[in-house]
Symmetry: C2
Subunit: 122 residues, 2 copies
Amino acid sequence: MGIAGSEPSGEELLRVLAALANPQRLRVVAALTRGQNYVSQLARDLGMSRPLLYLHLQRLEAAGLVVGRLELSTEGKAMKYFEVAPFHLEVTPAVLARAVATLAETQATARERPQDESWEVR
Amino acid sequence: MGIAGSEPSGEELLRVLAALANPQRLRVVAALTRGQNYVSQLARDLGMSRPLLYLHLQRLEAAGLVVGRLELSTEGKAMKYFEVAPFHLEVTPAVLARAVATLAETQATARERPQDESWEVR
DNA sequence: TACACCTGTAAGAATAGCATGACAGGTGGG
DNA sequence: CCCACCTGTCATGCTATTCTTACAGGTGTA
């Protein structure tokens, strides 16, 4: 899924899901939804250490969920502002199945069971 | 999100995201999309150990993404069949923000910055 | 110079998650 | 009885994630 909501590849999907599967990072995204902010201030707002927040922001950015830009304030201080990216992801069985299809099979996707009556109930 | 796609609470959302943020479990869901199956057979199909698959299925079921039922085959053998639940989750900044709002704040949501001009660029 | 801000990174400890192998119990059929 | 299936659980390592503390720089103002 790029900026909008096309179909994500397996790797993209995993990166996004892993990035969001954490209460802290979820809070970070939620906080940025209320407006952009720079790292130090956001750390104070959320009550977490700046290095930790920094780490979380990196993961969120790598997943394309937030974007950050280094900005020079009027006083010449460097401040890194982050804002949420307008992502939109549909999570359904079909979407997951298509994403998995693009995933490099670590080991045998396994021979699809030949004919297969094994999943027939009764 | 119940069976369909209502709004998930913070805990639900985290459970679902954490359950899906794993390549193995993603493959499990994808495999079940092609039809229901029982644990041992599915383990062979996916090329993973049965105890491990069992663990993953438990997490997926706890998240409401798959449902399992113990069934007695015609020969009297107990087989646990799993199938995907028809889930449908929208992942957008707004949804995340609303979910986080229901999340128990581990520590101070932090005083919302008073008036806040800090996020004003320039 | 000292202070109060800011960014960026690294080393280390504590913790959670993943994965394996082995066990106990059940069934039916040769 | 023995073998081939099945479910369910546990003790054990191993790896990845999470988080803290501590650095090294940069700016502007008193």
